[in-house]
Symmetry: C2
Subunit: 441 residues, 2 copies
């Protein structure tokens, strides 16, 4: 006998968890598509040389790699950006630009699981490549907005910034050469006190006056217009800084034009998103009720997606929904449904002699677009209802010989145990109408 | 510069292909759910000992296997049945029975690619375990029927059989000990002539009289009732055979009760589905116009899913949609859509000064549930329309300064280049209604 178990850092998704994930993925597909993003897929396995050296030293170390049957060195993808870069280099000539794709897929990292992370998780990326248009930046923020709203979140904030404003400030302060180190420090402003970040900056040799100016970013608050007014004196001496100011200002106007409510999108000049990769707007998204959860959807603009694989310059902008983090947040907020079944109607099997009638009823309910689970055995009703209650069905439809004879049925709401009598006189369509009305409420 | 390429036997899905696959997966989820099947997921990687020795020698050889960072011997799943068996052994105590799950996921096999096969493909399995009820068998056939119908196939046939009828015949012929070899030969009846199969059986030492009776299976034809009448004398001497006859007869009655049209499900006594695994009904499904494609959805009943991992006996029944084969068939039949975009409306950007208006219009169309791609740059209209035509949008919405001033718009059907004028007087809701009417036809 072999012990049934999963590998450390890997997990099964049971029905309730898998249903919750499918619901979010369905929403993501719908929203991405509503903006014209098309799906693509790439292999889980790539030539090792495609994957190594594209992320950080950390991702290289975490890579699942091996030699395949043909003696090739291969690796399992650790994100969807590197495969997209390879894909774009290979196919962009035939696909043309601008090219908008989404990619919902699993990635693998041999991470330290002590931080509660899994070694297998899904990413939900969308990107527009082949255009530097600010409209693509704006659409990226709109997609994130529509996505979080469509998931049913009511209290969330998208925090945006433009790396050019930060670059402008660093230029003004003579810190351009130390940009990477300084931006990594600034990125910690959400998690650490300004004092702590200041000490770290001082440790990197940044002068006290410059630190004051850098930390003043975190004190800017209020409406985007107020934050912009505060930023202006800090960055206007730099052309790059002025370009960033203008871009963010237009972005805010566009968001209002597209109907995004005030306050949904905040301007947060301290967001840098550590990666050197980003060159224009950057964005992060937070659940207002769970600030400690971290960003559930992040992204930004980059200059060149696929420089390692092609000479064609492919600027782009995009973001990624952290679906596992989002699901953890929804669970913490008590917003995840717990039903283990995707069907809301349970049809009890009372009397095997009426099997044909049950089949006709189930077929009529399904033809009307309802999902119904018919119990496979004519077990005791109490046992069937107990099973149905545990699974989380909304209603149970109970029809025994007497009910068939009288043209009636019992509809039992499983949570409250409240039963309603239905008169259907043997006409499945009347029964369907009554059940449909009951599950809609 | 690194050459962008995929591994041999692996492939990217470009937008049109990925959209086609997503459409079929959406239908599969909807149909599986309508019967109460719930999704699950399992890791791509499993302990090697879970995976080896569960399939055939061939699958063992094809397994992608390696040693992970923690020194564990691991493998990538080669099907969804073995992981489901491990999953069931691990979780069935908390999930309870009957348990109905579906699993849509990628599997990997280092197969010989010369046969046009890929080393990475999707499987779409559904199973009911923990019950021996014939209702679960019937539901399996109904799900396959509803699934193929919902995909939009008009000409398909589900061929069913019951292994017990074959077992009864073998018992009668004294061939029970050679069952595996004989059934493997019979399984070839669809692809080889009866003569060729007869010669192979003779080569295995089967007597001429027995071969005649075995091959007479392939001559039984007509309605299920006619086939059953022809089978009766062949198998009625065996109790197992009689059980199979009775089961198939009830199955056909149940299918009619559930509204399945005559002729959709054929009784084919020669189907064995080689695997020793199946013990009751077996089924295969064929596109009537592409008989050479092979079965696109196959399955059957088995006695014990998870015997290698648990002492609990878990009988079950299920089937699997071969989505890649189905998509290849749809393509061959010219039934695959070629659009590279999931949106059917293209909104041209004519005049950057009207950006706010375009954003309001796009937002109104999306709020009405329509998918619209707004071109990110105010390029020449001809270039935009050429791009939109190539992508496969249904209509282009063209509104320039003059149109904005006049409260009009042009709706261009991209396939025919036929343009219609819309009067909307600056009211986005009127515009939405006109566009919606245009894309619905």
């Amino acid at each position: 006998m072999i012990t049934p178990r999963t590998l450390k850092g890997f997990r099964d998704l049971l029905p309730a968890q898998a249903l919750a994930r499918e619901r979010v993925l369905e929403v993501a597909r719908r929203v991405y598509r509503s903006y014209g993003f098309a799906p693509i897929d790439t292999p889980a396995l790539e030539y090792l040389e495609i994957l190594t050296g594209k992320g950080s030293e950390e991702t290289d170390k975490q890579l699942y790699r091996f030699t395949d049957h043909g003696g090739r060195d291969v690796g399992m993808r650790f994100d969807l950006t590197v495969p997209f870069a390879r894909f774009a280099a290979q196919h962009i000539a035939s696909l043309g630009t601008p090219f908008k794709r989404y990619h919902l897929a699993t990635v693998w990292r041999g991470e330290n699981t002590q931080r509660g992370r899994y070694r297998e998780f899904m990413q939900c990326d969308f990107d527009t490549i082949g255009t530097t248009s600010p409209v693509a930046d704006l659409e990226t923020v709109l997609v994130v907005h529509d996505l979080l709203q469509a998931i049913g979140l009511e209290r969330f904030t998208i925090r945006v910034n433009d790396r050019r404003m930060l670059a402008g400030l660093l230029e003004t302060l003579g810190l351009t050469d130390q940009a990477t180190v300084v931006l990594r420090c600034l990125d910690k402003l959400g998690k650490q006190t300004p004092d702590a970040v200041g000490r770290e900056l001082a440790g990197h040799g940044v002068a006290a006056a410059a630190i004051d100016r850098l930390l003043s970013l975190s004190q800017l608050g209020g409406t985007p217009a107020e934050v912009l007014a505060g930023l202006e004196p800090l960055v206007e001496a730099s052309e790059t800084g002025r370009a960033g100011l203008a871009a963010v200002s237009s972005l805010m106007t566009g968001l209002a034009d597209a109907g995004v409510a005030d306050g949904r999108v905040a301007l947060d000049p301290s967001i840098a998103r550590g990666l050197d990769y980003y060159t224009g707007i950057v964005l992060e998204s937070f659940l207002d009720d769970l600030p400690g959860l971290g960003s559930i959807c992040s992204g930004g603009r980059y200059d060149n997606l696929a420089g390692l694989y092609t000479k064609q310059s492919l600027p782009g902008v995009g973001a990624s929904l952290g679906i596992d983090r989002l699901l953890a947040g929804l669970e913490e907020l008590g917003r995840l449904e717990t039903a283990e079944t995707p069907a809301n109607i349970f049809l009890a099997q009372f009397d095997a002699a009426h099997l044909g009638d049950y089949l006709r009823i189930a077929a009529a309910l399904r033809a009307a677009g309802l999902a119904v689970d018919f119990y496979p055995e004519p077990k005791k009703l109490g046992q069937q209802l107990k099973w149905a209650g545990k699974k989380g069905f909304q209603v149970a439809l109970v029809i025994g010989s007497e009910e068939f004879a009288a043209g009636t049925a019992q509809l039992k709401r499983l949570e409250t145990q409240q039963a309603t009598a239905i008169e259907w006189g043997g006409d499945p369509e009347r029964l369907v109408a009554a059940v449909r009305a009951a599950v809609a409420t």
